[in-house]
Symmetry: C2
Subunit: 587 residues, 2 copies
């Protein structure tokens, strides 16, 4: 059964070329429409589960959408405008059954920095963001996301959760005119606590209490498996249902209370206020704008104003969505395709811009709801989309009465679980150095949330490059010096390697021969070859030899083609030592 | 003599910590003053050679300095202001006997983009550049230069040589008001050839002819070694001397011709024009400026105007100088210290700003002259510095009459050898992919010379990261799947690795066991550990096992600390195969 190792039959050796070829195959073309993989097998059982899940997610996304539009600094209806296109598009193009696209807390926060509360900017940003994401998908740039390491994602998520959660405290307190930047926001929120409105505070805290209780009740459900009596089953079913649609319940209840007090003529609560009625028109986004004071802002001006947002928003949108898809794919044991996900989000944003959406991405919370409710295919999204469209068509006038404090409570409870304390001791135990990108991301995010992730990626990239630039060198003495390269040899490392070799072999008296053990070297570049040529010359000048050992055939071929003067290679360290010592005696 | 390999006595295993400790040792402190290593051994023979070399370089740097100031868009005397401080400073702090600091073609071209012909900007840029370089030296950031690969350096040098050389054609033609950007410059230079001034063209071409002839004569000198008669020796000595001071000869002769025609009342040639007389004052640079029309420009305004130059100029200065020092160190077999070189250049620029210098760096041409003339220690620089100072003190009024065409000829001949055609076939033979950073650097440099090197570094960095992100995976079948990682395992690669493992082992029916051969893996990070945990869970779900093989002790320790569920490790592939297959049968 076990074949000899020296003649391993190489079944699959993935190279860039082969993957390019693979990407053009029929399989891959079919992969562009993942709906084709599940639609032919669709059945009634799946339909039942998808209906239930889609409805539940729909009841979650309506209040969340309204709340997140508030975070983005837009009128609340924009939250719903953004919430349905993704459901339909993802159903056709998505590769995960669980992911639901739509407005999210982090994305709304990011958008708020770039759009300045202006819907024209928001919708144009959606279009551009979609074009960029689709372009990235077509250029197969999904691999770029691999460079965002886990500590960076965690640092960013924690900081964003704190920023978003704290940003809603002002709504619970009923305060207005608090700055958006985190530090001044914290200062002014606390400073102005005496101005808090009693009605908002009481309502907000009650909503929070209800949401926390429902969450806790739901979390304890799983651990009571031993009682299968009907009554208990019904009770548990009720708790589960209430807990699942808790966001909708809270918002509906709070709105009823607010509506009755308003009818009674008292203004206890800060309300959402005027909203536009009905569905958005299907029309291309405006490419210019005339401001209130009559000046017109051209397309290029808007693009300049959006600036860095055109890089941050598309990337973050993709990152968030793919991270979620990966997490649930891993949990439910299916594979997602990063480039296809990228394409689905890009298309959602492009089409979304025609219905006045602001940029969307995958929502962690709603994806979790979807998965837990037992969704079977992305078709569940269609139900969710229909719920949102119906809300827009018939419920908009009622949204006037939604108290802001209740939406704030929904957001705070949604982002709280994103602050994950356990990650710190975990990183500490595994690799302390990885705390650096985590902390950089976390802390810089409080300054400007979008710089946090950039800083973290830069730090982890530099740490990676440092490893490449300074491979471990093990030097041992066997009569001649034997130096083992601990990893690959790329251009940033060659200068260092040559320096160490010179100081150990040439700048000592008498000069020493060296065997360079390269069995970890998997590829070689022109800079390395060039410096090795110089190094070999210097060894020749000192009349000692430098023998290479354990080069892979591909690397050996390159070095032979470069015609290095005095180049010697041996397959084993013994042969290398022999070649080195014979040279020093007889050459 | 040969010890058993399994118990290698590890003599030296360079880690970051040890190098930090080493950098604090006494040796290292003495290393800050390299003059101490050669001054005690100084002797008469060295003095003779240093005097000759210093004088020769001095006669080269005076005309070159005047010409390069022209390239930088500054009055010609600034070329000489910049040419002497480096000679004195480098004598004390430099680690190469050959390198001469001063104005160079590339640096002058780069400066011209940022200083806009304003000496106040130039001198302040010198100070800031010096501070940044010294800071980099103190922070030991010299290693950053390792990330500039050879193809990038070559691409940049070729493009800069073409840009600089062509930029002087307008002076040979006697044209004025030609734009600085390369593309329009080429267009307008050719477009306006009919306006060329006959005097300038004739003088320029004659100067070029003389310089080319002298260079060719000097190049053929080396190959005639068989005739030792006195007459031939004297003749060859004369040719060598004339060839070495050819730049000075050309400029002196052209100036004499121009002076006589001017005295005769005819204005045949475009002259250098008014220069400031005498030595510059030793005073700190001005930190603000009042422009001709009376508006004052503050320090922060100047810094904002300099902008990217504050990154490009210091880095390029260091890069150019260290590249040259490395080249001659390799040729003449001595070691240079990147951080110490960085410090010497930084200090030269800081002190240079007190004598109105613009940013300097190592000059390839003059360093070559220095080396070929047989300089023995950096003391030769003192002689060069004295020559420059004397020229400033006594010859400045004569500089008025230097024809611009003669300086242009000097520059064109100085940069022409920098265009190295042979590098293209060399790269092609060794690694074709390395042509990409070369071409990116070369082509982008014509758009904006400073972006060329940035683009090239970015491209080669991305190529490097791609190698890290997509290690070679060799898959073979021994009953269970054996996957060999071709190189290290860092966070950008883990997603890809897990994907390949899943598709080969889990998404097949029946699921297969895997032995993962990690003997090339030298370190591991948190993201990798985290994804491996997920992967192990999925293997467990499919009731197959994933066995790790050949982990280094340090990596194994980390994985054990992370308490991965179902983690198994074996030392040999046979043991791994056994562990994997036993699990699938009995677990």
């Amino acid at each position: 059964m076990m074949e000899p190792l020296s003649s391993d039959p190489v079944v699959d050796q993935l190279s860039l070329k082969e993957r390019l070829v693979a990407s053009c195959s029929v399989d891959s073309l079919l992969g562009c429409f993942p709906i084709l993989t599940w639609l032919p097998r669709y059945n009634l059982e799946w339909l039942k589960m998808d209906l239930l899940a889609g409805l539940t997610v729909g009841l979650t996304v309506v209040p969340q959408g309204l709340a997140y539009a508030e975070v983005a600094g837009l009128p609340v209806q924009y939250g719903l405008y953004s919430a349905f296109m993704g459901c339909f598009v993802y159903c056709v193009f998505g590769t995960s059954k669980d992911v639901t696209l739509g407005p999210t807390a982090i994305m709304s926060l990011l958008c708020s920095f770039y759009i300045g509360g202006d819907p024209v900017y928001a919708v144009l940003l959606t279009l551009l963001c979609g074009i960029i994401q689709t372009g990235m998908a077509l250029l197969r740039l999904g691999f770029l996301l691999d460079f965002i390491s886990y500590p960076v994602i965690k640092g960013f998520t924690c900081a964003a959760a704190v920023t978003i959660g704290f940003g809603q405290v002002k709504n619970i307190l009923g305060l207005k005119g608090i700055p958006q930047q985190f530090i001044p926001q914290v200062y002014y929120t606390f400073h102005r606590i005496p101005e808090a409105r009693v009605g908002d505070v009481i309502l907000g805290l009650l909503c929070l209490l209800f949401l926390v209780m429902m969450t806790m009740m739901k979390n304890t459900l799983g651990s009571l498996e031993e009682n299968p009596s009907l009554l208990v089953r019904v009770a548990r079913g009720l708790v589960w249902s209430f807990a699942t649609i808790r966001n909708a319940l809270v918002v509906i209840a709070a709105t009823c209370v607010a509506y009755s007090t308003e009818l009674a003529g008292s203004h206890f609560f800060t309300l959402t206020g005027k909203t536009t009625k009905g569905l958005p028109h299907f029309s291309p986004p405006a490419f210019s704008e005339t401001t209130a004071n009559g000046t017109s802002v051209s397309f290029s001006d808007i693009v300049l104003d959006l600036g860095g947002g055109l890089a941050v928003i598309p990337l973050m949108g993709v990152l968030e969505s793919i991270a979620i898809a990966k997490a649930f794919g891993s949990q439910n044991n299916y594979r997602i395709n990063a480039n296809q996900e990228l394409f689905a989000i890009g298309l959602t944003n492009i089409l979304g811009s025609f219905v006045s959406a602001y940029p969307v991405t995958g929502s962690f919370g709603r994806t979790a709801v979807n998965s837990q409710t037992g969704v079977c295919t992305p078709a569940g999204g269609i139900v969710t989309g229909v719920v949102v469209v119906l809300s827009l068509a018939f419920l908009m006038p009622l949204f006037y009465y939604i108290p802001k404090a209740s939406l704030a409570a929904v957001i705070i409870c949604a982002v709280a679980p994103m602050v994950d304390y356990r990650v710190l001791p975990q990183i500490w135990r595994v690799r302390r150095l990885d705390l650096l990108p985590f902390l950089v991301t976390f802390l810089v995010s409080f300054w400007e949330v979008q710089y946090g992730i950039v800083g973290g990626v830069a730090v982890s990239g530099l740490m990676l490059l440092y490893l490449v630039a300074r491979p471990e060198l093990k030097i041992s003495d066997h009569g001649v010096i034997v130096m083992e390269l601990g990893s690959g040899l790329h251009f940033p490392a060659i200068e260092h390697l040559c320096g160490v070799l010179r100081s150990h072999a040439l700048h000592v008296s008498p000069a020493r021969c060296v065997v360079l053990d390269c069995h970890h070297v998997s590829s070689i570049d022109y800079t390395v070859v060039n410096e090795l040529k110089d190094l070999l010359k210097q060894f020749k000048l000192h009349n000692v030899s430098l023998v290479f050992m354990g080069l892979k055939p591909s690397v050996l071929e390159v070095l032979l083609a470069a015609e290095l003067p005095g180049f010697k290679h041996r397959d084993s360290i013994e042969a290398g030592l022999q070649a080195a010592s014979s040279n020093s005696h007889y050459d």
